[in-house]
Symmetry: C3
Subunit: 353 residues, 3 copies
């Protein structure tokens, strides 16, 4: 049913976006149309990527998911970089990290926990992911924050580029570890065969690639226009660029993903729900963020990997909280509520900033 809605929204939203853009409708209306269109297009991209991943087998599929999983966010960010909106890009990265770790995981744990008293997920994966979260957010993001305080711009950028290269290299190494050298090593043996059998590609290879391409082009068109509405929309609603990036862009870019995590939790498939939330966070922090730093070198305004202090502290604190909640491999409604509480606190903070 959700799929039908997305089809309708897409087939109304895309032409409406084109018409509205050409006719210079009011920014607020366009902003709304663009956002809804992107959310529905993102769901197509997600389904196409998944179909391709199943067709191409677990290794290449894992790689596909790991690189295209946040394609929408990447596309929006590239256009924002091109428009020189570095603050919005850093904010939307922050928003994605917070959104995945606190909002998505929180909703999943909470809604899943309303149905099931205790839900379990693979502890080994949680430990592995905890270390990566600390590496990415607490090491790779905090170090430039502190070291660049008295550094000139060119050195800040050198440091950012160095860290970005290491982040991407380690992200690839993590995929190699998970998909090649240690595939299945930490998984419980039973069921895995049974579960893999039920996975069947929704679309064939050709159809999936066609849809992926078409949706990507459409997203790119809408995203470019979306970026240019930020300033006016911010002024109309009294929102700062920071708030737009952290709350709006992050939610629009990840809405489809968010929904499927919650559905998985409701079906008691916590491994999948956690994998979506944490996996997506790691992808943002270890792949999308550093790629954007490197891409920004091609544009006029370069983006160093230096977040504002509130952004940095929010992310670090969110990582510590989610690790302390996830490290027993068990969840319940109250743990979900705790994560949501943290998200609301930060939301209020960024709104008032």
């Amino acid at each position: 049913m959700a799929n039908k809605i997305f089809i309708i929204v897409t087939f109304i939203g895309v032409p409406l976006s084109v018409i509205g853009t050409l006719m210079h409708w009011s920014s607020t209306v366009l902003f709304l149309i663009y956002c809804l269109t992107i959310v529905s297009l993102a769901s197509f991209m997600g389904r196409a990527t998944e179909s391709l991943a199943i067709v191409t087998g677990p290794r290449i599929g894992g790689l596909l998911n790991a690189t295209f999983g946040n394609a929408v966010e990447l596309i929006i960010s590239i256009f924002a970089l091109k428009a020189g909106l570095i603050g919005v890009v850093l904010a939307s990265l922050t928003g994605s990290v917070l959104g995945n770790l606190l909002l998505v995981a929180g909703l999943s744990f909470f809604i899943g926990g309303l149905k099931f008293k205790r839900q379990h997920f693979n502890v080994h994966d949680a430990t592995h992911n905890s270390a990566l979260l600390i590496f990415a957010v607490i090491v790779a993001f905090v170090i430039p924050e502190v070291f660049t305080i008295n550094m000139n711009e060119s050195r800040s950028l050198s440091l950012s580029v160095g860290i970005s290269v290491i982040l991407i290299a380690l992200y690839l190494a993590a995929l190699f570890f998970k998909l090649v050298t240690h595939r299945g090593v930490y998984q419980p043996k039973v069921e895995s065969g049974a579960e893999q059998q039920e996975e069947e590609a929704e679309w064939g290879k050709g159809k999936a690639i066609t849809i992926l391409l078409a949706a990507t082009i459409a997203v790119a068109y809408v995203a470019e226009n979306l970026v240019h509405t930020f300033e006016e929309v911010g002024q109309s609603f009294g929102w700062s660029e920071l708030f737009i990036g952290i709350i709006i862009v992050a939610i629009v870019g990840n809405a489809a993903e968010h929904a499927s995590a919650v559905i998985m939790a409701y079906k008691n498939k916590m491994d999948v729900a956690v994998e979506i939330a944490v996996g997506s966070t790691l992808q943002i922090a270890m792949f999308v963020a550093p790629i954007l730093v490197l891409i920004s070198l091609l544009f006029e305004t370069k983006m160093p990997l230096v977040f504002s202090l509130p952004e940095m502290v929010s992310m670090a604190v969110a990582v510590l909280l989610s690790i302390s909640i996830a490290n027993d491999g068990e969840t319940n409604w109250f743990e979900g509520l705790t994560l949501l509480g943290a998200y609301v606190i930060m939301g209020i903070g960024f709104y008032l900033l």
Copy 2:
């Protein structure tokens, strides 16, 4: 025997407090009398609350303990707020957190550990509490610290109020989780029946309520006067308001509780000792602190939830240390000494500040 001493101190201390106040004795003498009187009155309030908790059953009893457990501290703080001593209130909150997490837990682990080689407590509770400690101290206290750096006063207060409401809501949700939806879910099955049978109320319902009311009124009277001695006592001894709040008020407000935690540890009832230390910390951070922020709105000087940097860092660091020590569900004398070492380090720091 301890009870007899408290009776004597109470029946000498209360009239002496009244006489001394009326006759304007020296601040230092009054300060000493007030402190001792409050400590002994607090022990009566504690016993009355516990009796009521047993009589009213586990659910309402748990709620009673959770709200009246730090009543003395709450009363002292309200009078300090009324006198505009925001710095002292924030300091005494800090002192309670540090005192419970480091001093009480440290003494319990150390003294218990001198008698028993290894002591154990419920790991599930420890994990649950760890997440709440991180939520309260590292999220809810750190966020306003960082976000308000460049914020004007009214926005700082809005943020503080928002966070306070969320803290109280989550505290109530935690009680609901513990007492209703997940009662006994994480407890080992055995013994529980046996242990609950041996609990018997010391006082009947009527007597407990009478004593609780009388002691509360007496505490309120003494506390109001105590607050006004701070300035002169500070000057006589060369103590800053900060030091008085962090070390003196915090110890006076929690002395009775502290003693019973150590006694429990000595009896190898580590679950109870840890529950007192950590439970009390959570109550301070998630209930007393936000309630005080909201109450301060009624007074002339409003209190934002913004600690000084040394206070904030000390609390955050104490949380990380105590979590890392507690997360294996086992204690020994050395772990107690480590916590005490941290308390002394911070004590020296606040003394020299």
Copy 3:
């Protein structure tokens, strides 16, 4: 074979150091000679200490290892203190902490992990050490950092001295705990008898003491001269004092130790490898650093226990990362790579600073 190389380097390096010093060779050449000579002398001191430790039994042996294990670093630092180079001393302490936690542990896990899919070590030790790491680095180092921001010099020093005394006291208590009251309590029972039998002292008591003394004197001579080359070498290569301290001095002072940790990991003796890396970190943080603060009181320039912000944050972040990686008692090549990645990130940061 490694031993033969060390013998050759020692018997060429020591006379060359003397001759070069007297003939005022270029600083860069001398710097290189001094470094190599110290590395090879350090290996003799390590072997002599170990032989003595075996001869004198586990208790006194443990004490010997715990005090002489970082003798080389201590000697170099004392001469740097004497020359007033406080910045270099603090940097080399930082470098040792980072080097042990990230470089040595990282290399051990990585190289060991290339040979073995999963390697295991004692989880109880890891938990015990985690708490101490947090105590030393996150409590004892962070507190003075934050508290001294607005403190005058004499109070900063008082705080540093107080913390140093507590650190040393707790370090001795930790030895007492490990060697006396809780010896073997947390060790798995099996094998331990078998393993202890195979340990045999390389040298007799007399020979070991003679070599230890001779090597110490030689190290002292070379170290004193090494310290005076820092300024010129820094200028020639464009290295800051900070970088020399953090990367060069730390590696030279610990090279021999580093090598043996990696060899142990390659032999799948992860308990030993982790003990070297983490034990050495604790020794630096809880014994060498505070001893140097106290020794500095004898010199003209006193050293407070206040690191620069990048140093402090790097150490705190390294502790959090290594705890999150080590707390499951299992390692693999990817965990090693993660630690190495963090080391490189910090290395780049300090180079650009």
